[in-house]
Symmetry: C2
Subunit: 202 residues, 2 copies
Amino acid sequence: MIDGTPLPLADQRKPPRADAARNRALLLDAAAALAARCGAAAITMESVAAAAGVGKGTVSRRFGDRNGLLQALLDHSERQFQEAFLTGPPPLGPGADPLTRLHAYGPAAVRHEHLHRDLYLAAEPPPGRRYSVPAGQLRHRHVALLLRAALPDADAGLLAHTLLASVDRVLVDHLVREEGVSLERVEAAWHDLVDRLLGRRA
Amino acid sequence: MIDGTPLPLADQRKPPRADAARNRALLLDAAAALAARCGAAAITMESVAAAAGVGKGTVSRRFGDRNGLLQALLDHSERQFQEAFLTGPPPLGPGADPLTRLHAYGPAAVRHEHLHRDLYLAAEPPPGRRYSVPAGQLRHRHVALLLRAALPDADAGLLAHTLLASVDRVLVDHLVREEGVSLERVEAAWHDLVDRLLGRRA
């Protein structure tokens, strides 16, 4: 589940110490770099241990098994993206106006998910749960908030679904891999869509 | 008696006779009416036979088993919708201008799929096949063609994906059942989206 919250260990009473959290983040960074370079299939307890320069036992104690590692990796990746659009620097984060942030959101989502596509696509929920994943709901609230500010007379809730769907990871992966569409063309279509919705192309 | 004609044998070279095709369509219409009234779960070989006033053996000979019947029912339903937008009367079919047909498409798709939602949702493909279903590709070509005519300077291929995604059956079902959104609001958002894209709301 990509829900932005850490997966608490069942028997853990207190939060991990700062150095433990930092070491966990270092392991996940090493795993994320490996996945981006070689694909999620290359992620094993051994390969991540080697990439981080630690023993396999360290990775096992931290994540349990490969599934636990992949879940933690996806959570880590989604959290980085959430931080970027919620609290990161402009134009994606606060500090830029809503229209500028809307323009920045699409390409940021496309690039982030393309980099981590193996992880995201492997975790794609079945149709009945597509809109109830907390991470997706957070993205929707964010885009709807920007839309409400930039376009007060629109149905921001439904329009946010439309905008997000235009850069849906399954769609973008299909376009790139099956139809030879470039990420640049997907990004250009996002900017064009935002411009048209905001009446800049009339 | 709806089905007094012999079933064509597997090795028969000529197409089924017109009355056999008509009887098949009558069975499917009875099944579709039953599904719309009582849900797809109510569709059994027995219930369709009863609704059509024939024996269960007639239904079995025609469709094999329940899965075969449900698949035939979905094909039948999708074909009706295809005929409506490809060759039916305006404003959905030819005879109206592309902008008018675009406006008509969204509500027609939403109403059609809502009526047959059990069938469509049960057949929803897994993420990796979401964009390679032929019926979906035909819908995409149709909307892209209308967009190309109404909005020559847009990236019609990508924009058609966006428009179709705004009335995606899984999204609409989620909105209606989980968030209490009315079909009227979904339809209004479609018209607003088309108007904004076409610069009518600038």
